[in-house]
């Protein structure tokens, strides 16, 4: 510390990072996504993925699902800061490991190649509810729903079967059983 030339203190010990899924119910109004995303970027929080759409057209409510990483203290701050935003109604948060919650991402894979390659690609996707959305003589567009790291693996594995394009969504989440997010 003797050599510090800063008017600010040096960073202290960092806690362990956890991955959390944060679900935010907001008024679907102009700029609301910018407010939520701006809060993250402005305060230096991470966004790993983001999914947002209106879920109640009558009440104009959108549901934003954010996957983020941070120390427990940071996650707590994110929640409290989100709750302060005027258009935010409620905020739920859970750890990625939480068994009571399902979360899923969707991916579209375009595979180009001969029949054998295409079929091998489809077979490789078998575990993840593959749906063929489009097929031509030399191509497939395959839709799968899976976890983030499963999609990561698949987009790596499909390369050898002629994968030319990947498009994927952020995670969406829902509780298991009859409970809903509080």
């Amino acid at each position: 510390m003797a050599n510090s030339k800063s008017a600010y203190s040096t960073p202290g010990k960092q806690g362990k990072f956890d991955t959390h899924i944060i679900v935010v119910w907001v008024d679907n109004e102009a700029g609301v996504l910018a407010r939520v995303v701006g809060l993250f970027s402005g305060r230096g929080y991470n966004i790993e993925s983001l999914a947002v759409a209106e879920i109640d057209p009558k009440l104009n409510i959108s549901r934003i699902t954010i996957v983020t990483t941070g120390t427990p203290q940071v996650i707590e701050q994110i929640k409290l800061q989100l709750k302060k935003l005027v258009p935010v109604h409620k905020v739920a948060d859970f750890k990625r490991e939480d068994k009571k919650v399902i979360f899923k991402e969707m991916a579209l894979f375009k595979v180009v190649g001969n029949n054998s390659k295409k079929d091998k690609a489809l077979k490789a996707c078998k575990k993840y509810n593959p749906v063929i959305l489009d097929k031509t003589k030399n191509s497939y567009v395959i839709q799968i729903t899976a976890l983030r790291r499963e999609i990561d693996t698949m987009s790596k594995n499909l390369k050898k079967f002629g994968l030319v394009s990947v498009s994927r969504t952020g995670a969406v989440a829902m509780t298991r059983g009859s409970d809903t997010f509080r």
């Binding site: 008017a7 600010y8 203190s9 202290g12 700029g31 910018a34 701006g38 203290q73 005027v86």
Partner: protein, 588 residues
């Protein structure tokens, strides 16, 4: 058929129903319809500033000294961007501001029209909330909502952006009824259980301390009264943050002075060694805590705050109490009276050792300095200013830098809302326009801006505003020709490489005062200081006071960066006494 009002009229109708008396503003193309209506609403006095940043700071000064929200009116584009510094300042220091900005007509938004900017986009991170009103039918409810958001919970700035065509369009206006219970974003959630726990901790503590902040001032004058009652009832020592000055009498024996980077030795050491810290309306700012890992290692910490996101943000606390300061203290006092009526007596014994220790720290007299008979020491100037103005219910604003810290150390406040300083953002140029706003709110009071010559030049143009409205503000410049705090850091940390911190070619402030049509006074030696200050006080016009002070003086004591509270660097006098000499300096 109900009467229809134009958007511009609705703006004033809303301001009327909100009880607004003054707006600070600057006209321009996109707000002309609103300015056109001004003549029809006599209850509002418009203060024409010289720069929109000045409007913002003046509104802040008005708000902080009166407890009412400050309102500013600016045009689109540069008008709005000029207000950004003031909005950010208000956001950091929790000052309720309502900024109404003009915008280009709705059909031109997004076309890079003349004086168009994305005002709501630019001000999103520096306001509590902002609105772009595209539909005249939303205007009324939006403005009322804006006042609600600005003034409830933890106060802060809001902005309402109104396109020019909306200002012309017509709509109904229904008289606004103020509801007592406001929206759900207010977090008054504490329970009696929390209070009982607090009293339990207070009962057990042998080295307690109150650490209070601007939240006490924001909670209203009643909160400061209650705080005094609580502190007297407990016999505990109390320290306040920069923003909390005035919430507790500066000359009271239980008051340890300000804490933090340039706070008193006794306050910082007491914070470090205490076993119970009761934070009331402060936010564990980095200028307060020093090195977080070594911040008050042995204490149980209680945090009373209206903003739940302030709790556990920087420092983990043992007992969080979310609520309005006045309400929490009321409940605490009530419970003490009921459960432990002889709390003070039983407690006095227990904390007497603690007080002995504090007295030892106090005897160091850490704000002391080596006075001079030849040059005016800046600390001496503020001490004299204090002695000659106390008892006059003086309002003090400051700029940012050494003079600000010296003012905080040497000027003692007896009441809340008398001290307006830019703490969070540290905005140079805050004090002069803030003084304008304070004087508007309190036309018959003495308002002094304790300034540095560098800061004050940033918003000097507002002297013209003061002259226009006969606002007799006093600009008390501690002129050392340096950006003093920058110079100090360069001396201590950057091997005395005074890179760009000296201002050559400063204006002659006395002549400058005359050019603005106000009064210029200069003091150059300590023996003429008192007379000159008295002359300033007795002048019923705006004054620029050029006080030429020691150029080399540093602001002590200080907590060097990355150090905990108990490793303060003391001033030259104490350094000699305590043998913290050369080595202490290299540690900074």
């Amino acid at each position: 058929m109900p009467k229809l009002y134009s958007g511009a009229e609705i703006v004033f109708k809303c301001l009327e129903d909100q009880g607004v008396e003054f707006i600070f503003g600057y006209p321009g193309g996109a707000v002309l319809p609103i300015y056109d209506e001004l003549k029809n609403f006599n209850f509002i006095k418009h203060i024409l500033v010289r720069h929109e940043q000045g409007a913002g700071h003046a509104a802040e000064g008005y708000a902080r000294s009166s407890g009412k929200p400050g309102v500013l009116l600016v045009t689109s584009g540069p008008g709005a961007t000029n207000a950004v510094t003031a909005l950010t300042d208000a956001y950091m220091d929790s000052v309720p501001l309502v900024c109404i900005s003009g915008q280009v007509p709705t059909h031109l938004i997004g076309t890079d029209a003349f004086q168009e900017c994305d005002t709501t986009g630019i001000t999103r991170p520096c306001t509590k909330h902002n609105w772009l009103v595209k539909d005249i039918n939303d205007l009324e409810k939006t403005i009322h909502k804006a006042f609600e958001v600005a003034t409830t919970g933890r106060p802060g700035p809001v902005l309402v952006d109104i396109p020019k065509d909306v200002q012309f369009q017509k709509a109904k206006y229904t008289k606004f009824k103020r509801q007592k219970k406001l929206n759900g974003k207010i977090h008054n959630k504490f329970s009696q259980k929390d209070i009982n726990q607090l009293i339990e901790l207070m009962n057990k503590a042998s080295r307690p301390i109150f650490y209070t902040g601007g939240g006490v001032v924001n909670s209203g004058p009643k909160a400061s009264e209650l705080l005094r009652e609580l502190v007297h009832a407990t016999g505990f020592p109390i320290t306040t943050t920069l923003q909390g000055l005035g919430s507790y009498p500066g000359e009271d024996s239980q008051f340890l002075g300000m804490l933090g980077m340039h706070g008193s030795y006794e306050a910082n050491n007491a914070m470090h060694d205490c076993d119970l810290m009761i934070n009331i309306g402060a936010r564990f700012d980095d200028r307060i805590t020093g090195k977080i890992d070594e911040f008050s290692p042995k204490s149980k910490k209680v945090h009373i705050d209206i903003d739940p996101s302030s709790i556990n943000k920087n420092v983990k606390v043992d007992l969080p109490i979310v609520g309005d300061v006045a309400e929490v203290i009321t409940a605490t006092i009530k419970t003490i009276k009921k459960v432990k009526p002889n709390f003070t007596k039983s407690n006095k014994q227990k904390i007497s050792k603690w007080w002995e220790k504090i007295q030892k720290w106090r005897s160091i007299n850490s704000f002391d300095y080596i006075n001079s008979t030849e040059t005016i020491k800046p600390q001496y100037a503020i001490q004299r200013l204090y002695e000659l103005t106390k008892g006059k219910d003086t309002y003090i604003t400051t700029e940012v830098g050494q003079h600000q810290m010296w003012a905080a150390q040497h000027y003692k406040f007896d009441k809340p809302n008398r001290w307006m300083t830019s703490g969070g953002l540290g905005t140079m140029g805050y004090g002069l326009p803030a003084a304008v706003g304070v004087q508007v709110a309190h036309p018959n009071k003495l308002v002094v801006d304790i300034a540095g010559e560098a800061s004050v030049l940033m918003t000097m143009q507002e002297m013209s505003t003061a002259v226009q409205y006969s606002l007799p503000i006093k600009i008390f410049i501690l002129n050392n020709e340096y950006m003093g705090m920058v110079r100090q850091w360069q001396e201590l940390l950057h091997d005395k490489n005074y890179s760009e911190s000296y201002t050559a070619a400063l204006p002659d402030f006395v002549k400058l005062a005359e050019a603005y049509g106000c009064v210029g006074i200069r003091a150059t030696t300590p023996d003429e200081l008192d007379d000159k200050i008295i002359e300033m006080i007795n002048t019923d016009r705006p004054v620029i006071f050029d006080c030429l002070v020691d150029k080399q003086e540093n602001c002590f004591p200080m907590i060097p960066s990355g150090k905990p509270h108990n490793q303060m660097l003391l001033g030259p006098k104490d350094q000699k006494k305590n043998k913290i000499t050369g080595k202490g300096k290299t540690l900074v």
